[in-house]
Subunit: 403 residues, 2 copies
């Protein structure tokens, strides 16, 4: 007999059950301030999060694996219950999805940086002086007119120096190396170790870069491009197929909208402030079973290495909580996708606080929201990929496994 | 494109970063004394370990899996981040490496016990009365002269009744059963269930045993051999290849030197006392990125079932800590490879205390070193195999995974 290993929780997911809100503060976890011993969350005044902690089962989650610092893509894939290591999403695909570009099966998407090169072709500014988004839009429109034999070419602006190229046609492949050398004083990198099946794509991109360099040669700053994350959309089952929920994403920043779209969530119009996030949830609450709500500022302030501004961002995030509770979700899980300690000014591997509020939660004694308090919470330390099953279970959406 | 699942942390390891010391007290974990309720560590006076606990993030590690008691080989492989179940090292290979024998690819190594048999060939003493090492050396030199057709034969003394045989030649295979019956009153076991590809090796070893029995027949005690752990060196990537560090091992006992050599660490000259361990670290500190330091006495006293001597050994281990801190490592992780409770007088499966000291550690409220205190530490309960990634992350040696 061949017993295939069932995929959980997918195998027991039911169409009926309560409504779930997954509220994510990007980069939520932090590190203690050397002066006070308190992390950003612990230093912040967070009455709503603290009240939530008292009504929740709490713990910490490890985004990918102990010691592993996740990028935004893998961190969110893990929160959504997808194996973040086995299912890597290219940066190009993420950026394309993030601007709402409708990627088709087989499209190759590429993250583009406008850059400045000197007369010898050496990069002097990897971000072309962070040209304004208007300029980026103008240049993208110009490059969008480039024609390549046998494929369609799309060039779309993202923000400042960032844009996206999509090639559409038969026989295209991702996985070519980045041409961004991650350094100045050197020219962009050539493609190396190109596999036979990647040759067509490499050839087309070389032709594109040649045409683009010619078009941009008189630009004072954005006179060159570098390419990153040359990739195709991974073939994965959707959120709806796996968990049998109608899911919606409420987020402002392209990357997170992109990942949510990739797993098949309906991506609602952009929302960023607590008011916008709350209003979007209220407006769509009747139409979906599962909501992913993304709050960005806790991450960006951490990445800036600004402890006080991260504290302020956490206090702003605190005001999202009552707006979410106002719709009366059956399950609310509040967490981050990863830690972004101001002390490191970057993403990190440190476990992230999780509070899960539901009627069936085994509420613990933890009475305030924070890394130290949650370390002794009733959930213990879990993997991010386990959170989806916990949310669905508490919503009554998972049947018994086995007789 | 086929993106194979990347192996973490290998896929993100960088060549630059801070220096790491992994300080292992063998068999560190214990069980409470029935009279006091305190474990060996908790009963010991350990001012340096307690101070370390206050500056560290703490927790417990599970060496192999819950309930599984590890041997020294698997326990150390796990600490080094190698899957201890998928990558089993034969006892023969460990013994050979431990005496500094340069095992080549394809060599078959065998752990040998000198034993005493009676006139009927039944074992009366499995350790030949623990003959002195000098006698073992003399006998090994005698047996080393045995010639076998088509292969080279090496016989080397280890200690007391223990020796090593290595066969070198084409077509040899490990995996034959041990001939030590683990009992007296019965003869050594024959080889059973020999696979076709093992037949040549079995035949050679039978011939060797015949010749050895003839050579030893007049010995009063060591008149027979038993064979254990008939094995070849596993084909695994080295520590340096995986983690991009230059690694050195500082240890006194052959087994641990052997495992460290197997994963490709430079094995420094033997050191055992706190003074020797500290001096070895200081002397080599400039030349390596990663140091594995092994302290043995916490295990041997536990195996003797001697609670008080294990307490004393733990207090001696405590004095290693300041000697290690004196070199100023960026990351110091102090733990054991497994527990060896005096109450059980053997290795055990109980989780082992871990203290990780680094600038980026999320220091918890734990203020003393010990099993009970660390159970509420900020690391939670982790697998031993996760510790390498944590050490490397805290040393700034791991790049972000994914965009």
């Amino acid at each position: 007999m061949n017993l295939e290993r069932p995929t959980l929780p997918d195998a027991v997911a039911q169409e009926s059950g309560g409504k779930v809100v997954l509220l994510v503060a990007d980069g939520l976890g932090g590190l203690p301030h050397p002066g006070t011993g308190l992390t950003e969350i612990e230093a912040a005044s967070t009455p709503n999060l603290d009240a939530l902690a008292r009504e929740s089962v709490t713990g910490l989650h490890v985004p990918i694996a102990p010691g592993i610092t996740p990028g935004s893509g893998p961190a969110h894939m893990a929160l959504f219950g997808y194996d973040p290591v086995g299912c890597v999403i290219g940066r190009g695909v993420l950026e394309a999805l993030g601007i709402g570009f409708g990627l088709a099966e087989g499209d190759v998407a590429i993250r583009v940086n406008f850059a400045t090169v000197d007369a010898e072709g050496r990069i002097t500014d990897r971000r072309a002086g962070r040209i304004p988004t208007e300029k980026c839009t103008e240049l993208a429109e110009r490059l969008d007119r480039i024609k390549l034999p046998g494929v369609e070419v799309f060039v779309r602006p993202v923000k400042e120096h960032r844009a996206v190229i999509v090639l559409r046609g038969a026989g295209l492949e991702g996985g070519l190396n980045d041409t961004d050398p991650q350094a100045t004083g050197v020219p962009p990198l050539p493609f190396e170790g190109v596999a036979r099946e990647q040759e067509k794509t490499a050839e087309l991109l070389r032709a594109f870069l040649g045409a683009a360099a010619e078009m941009l040669k008189d630009e004072p700053r954005a006179n060159m491009l570098t390419l990153r994350g040359i990739s195709t959309r991974p073939d994965i089952p959707t959120f709806g197929e796996r968990y049998r929920v109608r899911a919606a994403a409420i987020a402002g920043y392209p990357m997170y909208r992109g990942v949510a779209g990739l797993v098949g969530m309906d991506v609602l119009p952009p929302a960023e402030t607590p008011e916008e996030l709350g209003a979007a949830l209220e407006g769509a609450y009747g139409d979906y079973d599962f909501f992913f709500i993304h709050f960005k500022k806790t991450d960006s302030t951490g990445e800036d290495g600004d402890f006080d501004r991260k504290v302020a961002a956490t206090e702003l995030f605190d005001t999202v909580v009552p707006r979410v509770l106002a719709v009366g979700p059956d399950v609310l899980l509040v967490t981050g996708d990863h830690s972004t300690p101001a002390a490191l000014a970057s993403h990190s591997w440190h476990p992230v606080p999780v509070a899960l509020r539901a009627k069936s939660a085994r509420v613990d004694a933890v009475d305030r929201f924070g890394e130290s308090a949650f370390a002794s919470g009733g959930l213990g330390v879990v993997r991010a990929t386990d959170l989806m099953a916990l949310m669905l279970a508490h919503a009554g959406r998972l049947a018994k496994f086995g007789a």
